[in-house]
């Protein structure tokens, strides 16, 4: 028998999708039965009260969570998001209901044993409710009380070899696509770079000193499986410099129908015979491909590495051999200002494991120095870029402008030269001048 009546929530379960309400009810029941004899460290009916307070919120049309609070374990400025209920008498089980963000392993590789242990820990010291994974990438453990925080942190760090992730005005938990571990498209080792930078910037991750949040995301290729281009302040997208590798025999294989386009995906329906001109050449966004006399050609100078042709014919086309990544900056969700996609700042940068990714760190640290000094409170990098201009960021990074930085033809006819950009500077020799000009 449920502790609280929840008619409004029950209604949500009637829709066509799997319902989080059903999941909550299931966990509430498991805790009530406690067949595993867990010595629950937080109220056994926490999930019942969570359902209850949510029902009340639906009824009142307003939240019953207070805003913010304590933030973590000793010395950490993030990783725990303090949440307190504003109706603790009615719902004592969720009087404290803090979220813990746990830094997921790069590429989200787990053993089932690890996941089982993690869930056991969370049933014992938390609500048993998780969110795998949050938008930032973290393992999100939902709902525990203040006294449990240090205990959980100790167990995570000592028994699970796992750290808390980021929250608040700091570097958020970096996240990456599965990369070279399982994907042939990966142009660099996303997991190594993600893991390396996570370790390198521990201080930025745990001790907030930024104007606002800052996210790194790593995609091995422009397919952008973690959507870094839309979701991170600094997006690392794998790319190549040389030509797409073409295997003409395999091209023929696709044309003759011996190889399935798209690796056999979209097979749920008969699309008719594969038409390379219509489906590949004709859909190239830069119109840089040609198929003539049974031969596929690409004008690589014009290719924007959109991945379309490679995705359709992976056996015939592969990224080039000179690989690295592009850096894009400034994506964000709408808070202060509208949503923004990232802008390309470095078209190609080497991803060099041997020297500890120095070239990449140089860019990161220059960006942080600029943003920490110039950014207003709660201003994301993308907003600062908009306010001061991409030109300013290029200057900060000490890189030369390239055509890829240009978004549209200029509509501003004024050019302001700086003294260092003008041969001879502003200085003039007055005496020399007066020889020719009277006062």
């Amino acid at each position: 028998m449920a502790k609280h009546d929840t008619p409004l929530l029950d209604q949500l379960e009637s829709g066509p999708w799997p319902s989080f309400v059903s999941d909550l009810k299931q966990e509430a029941e498991v805790r009530a039965k406690n067949e595993k004899n867990v010595e629950y460290q937080i109220p056994q009916d926490v999930v019942e009260d969570l359902l209850g307070v949510l029902e009340l919120s639906f009824k009142d049309g307003t939240t019953h969570w207070k805003h913010g609070g304590i933030v973590g374990v000793f010395g950490y400025g993030g990783g725990v998001i303090g949440r307190y209920c504003d109706q603790p008498q009615q719902f004592p089980g969720v009087a404290h209901f803090h979220t813990m963000r746990v830094n997921q392993p790069a590429g989200k590789f787990y053993t089932s044993d690890y996941l089982r242990k993690l869930c056991d820990l969370w049933e014992f010291r938390g609500s048993g409710l998780t969110n795998m994974h949050g938008s930032t990438g973290d393992i999100v453990l939902l709902g525990t009380t203040t006294p449990q925080l240090e205990e959980i942190f100790y167990e995570l760090t000592h028994d699970f070899n796992q750290d808390l992730g980021g929250s608040g005005s700091n570097l958020r938990t970096p996240s990456d696509c599965v990369g070279q571990a399982r994907c042939e498209y990966a142009c660099y080792d996303t997991q190594d770079l993600c893991h390396h930078l996570t370790n390198e910037y521990q201080d930025e991750l745990h001790r907030p000193a930024f104007p606002y949040k800052f996210k790194f995301k790593f995609d091995g290729c422009p397919n952008c499986c973690v959507a870094s281009i839309a979701r991170s302040d600094l997006s690392f997208i794998g790319t190549w410099k040389d030509d797409i590798r073409i295997d003409q025999d395999a091209v023929k294989g696709y044309v003759d129908g011996n190889l399935k386009p798209n690796g056999g995906a979209h097979a749920g329906r008969d699309w008719g015979p594969f038409d390379i001109v219509k489906e590949v050449v004709g859909l190239c966004p830069t119109e840089c491909m040609r198929y003539e006399n049974g031969k596929l050609e690409i004008n690589n100078r014009e290719c924007t590495r959109c991945m379309h042709c490679i995705n359709v014919m992976p056996r015939a086309l592969r990224p080039g051999k000179v690989k690295g990544c592009s850096l894009l900056a400034g994506a964000k969700a709408p808070i202060v200002d509208g949503a923004q996609m990232a802008s390309l700042i470095v078209p190609f940068i080497e991803v060099n494991k041997e020297d500890g990714y120095q070239a990449i760190k140089d860019v990161i640290e220059k960006i942080w120095d600029w943003w920490m000094e110039e950014g207003k409170n709660r201003e994301r990098l993308g907003e600062l870029m908009k306010r001061q201009g991409l030109q300013k960021l290029i200057e900060v990074l000490e890189i030369d402008p390239v055509p890829q930085h240009v978004q549209e033809p200029r509509h501003n006819p004024y050019i302001f030269w700086k003294e260092e950009e003008v041969t001879g500077g502003w200085d003039r020799d007055v005496n020399e001048f007066r020889k020719h000009h009277q006062r």
Partner: protein, 79 residues
């Protein structure tokens, strides 16, 4: 600047404003010290370690305050 001097500046700066505010952005602290943010961060971190300052967060924004001052200390017990 030595740590002790920085510490005093921050304590004095925040105490002076404590009537109207109990939580401060990191940039407020850097301004009090008149230092570049990256350099100021070292001192601020140490003050957290020594439990002079403590963090407050909404989940998306982080702030600092003198330990025990204002809403953050009461957050768990307020009614």
């Amino acid at each position: 600047m030595e740590y002790e001097e920085a510490k005093q500046l921050i304590i004095d700066g925040l105490t002076k404003k404590s009537k109207s505010k109990s939580k401060f952005y990191f940039s407020d602290l850097a301004k009090i010290l008149d230092m570049k943010p990256r350099a100021a961060k070292k001192f601020v971190n140490q003050m957290v370690t020594e439990e002079i300052l403590e963090f407050w967060s909404s989940g998306s924004t982080s702030m600092y305050g003198l330990k025990g001052m204002g809403k953050q200390a009461a957050a768990e017990h307020e009614d």
